[in-house]
């Protein structure tokens, strides 16, 4: 079930009526959340409900076992079981075929024709999100950062909480579990903010679906296209993936607010970043902070003198988290490389004044360079293969003699303006939402215009991009 569909509208209408008027106490509401979330998830594929619930139940009891284990070794054993269980499930569904195919290709290089069996299993929607979320609970308990909370149903409800179940943000148990134990009533102000975020999310998703068209033209072109159209396609994909993913999480946060839950921001105008490091502080914050806290720090972080290695491994695995393909590995490696380069250059005395400069010109240069590098990264992310990515990069950087298609300049302008506009809109939502929400007439007028726009424009779309991760 996708947020921007009539089916979800129907589902949520029934859900909120039950939630607000029938199930009025905490525990019944928790049960309602579980039932609603399983219906929401089951609408995609009910066969994977046991996997979701099962891994949640297992981690709930493992966390109890870690907490009550008498020795550190036993705690370590239990957390290892949790790691094996969660990463094992993820690996089996998401990476098994990729590994087997890669091994076969590798052997072929040495002349061995190995016909390895593949599983060809359907990837359960949202598995990467709820696995990481569940895993954070057992790791936090192991590290002593939180005590396990009693209440299996609360834990299952937190894990399966439908607004963020299939595409995040990735919530930590310590963020969501306390809220599930004492569900708050939304205030009218928070509800209005929720409605604002839902509207903004819908607008961004609508725009993203339209941007998919020029992006597809560039990335799936059967013949050569003009240089400008290639750039248009890459910028369009940057706008598409941002609108698609951040739009989804805006809606998730907005819906959660209507139910009395607070979910932290997942994006902070990432394309305004002025360095690759800055970008990762703004893009998919819940994943980058998860990777920092549970992977980068576990590897030793900055302390061991292996920062470069740790950054690289973290980004590589971060890339792989997005999908089982070499293009994602390349994307992760590319970001690992540019972050490492940023760190390196940041430490050079030659660049000291450049790094610390507050000049607008230098900031603009840093922004332009960062955005360019991000675009290069998206080429790997979106391309169908490394060869395809290379072909696109070459086409972007050489002047093609293919003539431009109809309205190519106009399309480039629209794509760029829309991508910029979504960022400006987000900037004002982050900075100025309160002011807007205090002006009811303007607020409701803008909401009506926004919703009208999203109901007015439509383009057949294949779900949300991040569902596949």
């Amino acid at each position: 079930m996708i947020f921007n569909t009539p089916l979800f509208f129907l589902f949520f209408s029934i859900f909120i009526l039950c939630y607000g008027f029938v199930f009025l106490r905490n525990t019944p509401r928790v049960y309602l959340i579980i039932v609603g979330s399983l219906i929401f998830y089951g609408a995609w594929n009910y066969k994977f409900i046991p996997l979701l619930v099962g891994s949640g139940i297992a981690d709930y009891f493992i966390a109890q076992a870690i907490y009550s284990a008498s020795t550190q070794a036993k705690k370590k054993l239990w957390v290892s079981i949790s790691l094996c269980l969660n990463l094992g499930i993820l690996g089996l569904f998401k990476y098994a075929d990729f590994v087997l195919e890669s091994v076969a290709e590798f052997l072929l290089v040495f002349g061995y024709q190995a016909s390895l069996p593949t599983l060809s299993w359907v990837l359960p929607v949202g598995i990467s999100f709820y696995t990481f979320q569940s895993l954070s609970y057992t790791i936090d308990v192991y590290r002593g950062e939180m005590k396990p909370r009693k209440g299996l149903v609360h834990f299952v409800a937190a894990l399966s909480f439908f607004p963020q179940l299939v595409a995040g943000p990735i919530l930590r148990a310590k963020q969501i579990l306390p809220q599930m134990h004492a569900i708050a009533l939304p205030t009218w102000e928070s509800a209005k903010h929720g409605i604002l975020l839902i509207t903004v999310g819908l607008i961004k998703k609508t725009g993203a679906d339209l941007l998919a068209i020029p992006a597809q033209k560039a990335f799936e072109a059967q013949e050569s296209i003009s240089t400008l159209e290639m750039w248009t396609g890459v910028v369009a994909f940057a706008g598409q993936i941002y609108g698609d993913f951040s739009g989804y999480t805006d809606m998730a946060i907005g819906i959660a607010l209507l139910l009395g839950f607070k979910i932290p921001l997942n994006f902070r105008v990432p394309y305004f970043a002025i360095s690759p490091v800055d970008f990762w502080r703004r893009w998919h914050i819940s994943l980058s902070s998860w990777l920092r806290d549970y992977l980068y720090i576990s590897l030793g972080g900055n302390r061991t003198g292996n920062r470069t290695r740790n950054v690289f491994i973290t980004m590589l695995l971060g890339g792989l988290w997005h999908g089982a393909a070499w293009t994602f590995v390349a994307w992760g490696a590319f970001h690992g490389a540019i972050i490492t380069a940023t760190h390196y250059l940041g430490n050079l005395a030659t660049f000291k004044s450049f790094n610390e400069s507050t000049s607008k010109g230098i900031k603009l240069f840093k922004w332009a360079l960062t955005f360019y590098l991000i675009l290069i990264g998206w080429v790997f992310f979106r391309a169908s293969s490394i060869d395809n990515a290379w072909h696109i990069l070459v086409e972007m950087h050489t002047l093609s003699d293919v003539s431009m298609g109809n309205n190519a300049l106009l399309i480039f302008a629209l794509v760029t303006v829309w991508t910029l506009l979504t960022h400006i809109m987000d900037f004002y939502v982050i900075k100025g939402a309160e002011k807007l929400e205090k002006r009811p007439w303007l607020f409701w007028l803008l909401m009506v215009v926004g919703i009208t726009l999203t109901l007015f424009i439509g383009e057949p779309s294949d779900e949300f991009i991040y569902f596949q991760f």
Binding site: I16, G20, N406, L455
Partner: protein
């Protein structure tokens, strides 16, 4: 606890009312904008709406019924009244109807034919003869790609609630979307709006059009203007229907037009015979329907087979024909011909009916076409209808 319950109800009343008001206002605004554009489903599928509305009257006709079903080529190429005159002169008791529609591909026609079947079966009525046009270029991938933006809208117009429910059971998300388009958006889907504005904003890359002599264009315009005037004089009671019952969904017949009108028609169609004009039409058909490459869309072929099966449910006899094509201008490549032959075989095997290929019949000459695919009024349509009479009168 009671105060918390009452607070919950209070805040959720406010939230639900806020959301509802927001949704109603947005939907209202959409309907208003659509209204301002004068767009409604009966406008863009007017002929389909009217032909559907005529079905209850058709099934109550006392005469034996013949129905020709197909594309705009059928619409332009079959004259029911001419057909009736000729076969009834041979002692038959026939009333025929033209169910040819421009802009509908077999996917949509399948649903329309189901509605026809519903009406006939519900009234325990049979067609004496169903003539179904198989139009190769209506079943191409290019044609299907051009219809993507209108699929949902047309589907909600042509499918029954039971069929929508079947879709909803199999694909709840799509089912909910279709119900929403049918009942809340009055058949105007967001995709339809987007493709409408998209075409305006990003028109299809224009091919280089060959210049037509200005004198010819002026002559066509002048003849067209005169024909409109003559029509208004000769048919003062015509109600502007797209599918007009007194003409059985077809056009008028030459016998009831004045000598002057027929003369102007000749002059009018003569202006279409210039080779640049033909080439422009040909190129247009290649771009919009892959008319010479014929890369078939399997879904559309399956839909066509289903159309034939739908008619077989309530027809004494079903014939599948391929209408005359302007073969002087449209030439299939060998690969296209091979694909067409294979497709014909596929349809024949699935339906048990041999397709009658009228594409190259000598009765139709090049000047009988208005463009490169459609037959001209009072020459092409008459000649082809006469040909059909010759073919089928003995079976009626």
């Amino acid at each position: 606890m009671n105060s918390s319950i009452s607070n919950s109800r209070k805040i959720y009343s406010k939230i639900c009312l806020g959301l509802l008001a927001l949704f109603i206002a947005a939907m209202g605004l959409i309907h208003f904008i659509v209204y301002l554009h004068g767009a409604n489903a009966s406008d863009f599928l007017g002929r389909v709406f009217e032909s559907k509305a005529a079905l209850p009257k058709i099934v109550k006709e006392e005469k034996d019924l013949v129905l020709m079903f197909g594309s705009s080529m059928t619409q332009a190429g079959f004259s029911p009244r001419q057909f009736d005159r000729l076969v009834n002169a041979e002692g038959k008791n026939i009333k025929s109807f033209n169910y040819g529609f421009g802009g509908l591909n077999p996917f949509f026609q399948d649903y329309l034919s189901r509605r026809i079947a519903d009406e006939f079966i519900a009234n325990d009525r049979q067609l004496k003869l169903a003539i179904i046009e198989f139009n190769p270029f209506q079943t191409t991938k290019t044609r299907w790609a051009g219809a993507i933006g209108s699929i949902d809208s047309y589907l909600t117009i042509l499918a029954s609630d039971e069929e929508l429910w079947e879709i909803a059971k199999a694909e709840p998300e799509r089912g909910a979307l279709l119900y929403n388009i049918k009942y809340l958006r009055r058949h105007i889907s967001a995709q339809l709006i987007t493709s409408y504005y998209g075409r305006g904003l990003f028109p299809r890359a224009r091919r280089e059009r060959l210049e037509e002599p200005k004198a010819l264009i002026d002559a066509r315009r002048e003849a067209g203007r005169e024909l409109t005037e003559l029509f208004a004089k000769e048919y003062p009671d015509f109600d502007d229907s797209d599918w007009y019952y007194p003409w059985q969904g077809g056009g008028t017949i030459p016998e009831e037009r004045s000598a002057r009108t027929l003369e102007v028609f000749k002059e009018y169609y003569a202006t279409f015979q210039h080779e640049n004009m033909k080439e422009n039409y040909r190129q247009n058909r290649i771009a919009s329907a892959d008319i010479e490459g014929l890369n078939f869309e399997p879904l559309l072929i399956e839909s066509f087979i289903q159309i034939v099966k739908n008619f077989q449910q309530f027809s004494d006899k079903v014939e599948v024909v391929m209408l005359p094509r302007g073969h002087q201008w449209i030439k299939y490549s060998p690969e296209a011909q091979a694909r067409l032959d294979a497709t014909i075989k596929q349809i024949e095997a699935a339906t048990g009916i041999t397709i009658r290929n009228h594409q190259l019949i000598p009765e139709i000459t090049p000047e009988m076409f208005s463009d490169v695919t459609h037959l001209a009024r009072y020459s092409g349509d008459v000649a082809y209808t006469n040909y059909l009479v010759k073919q089928y009168k003995d079976q009626l």
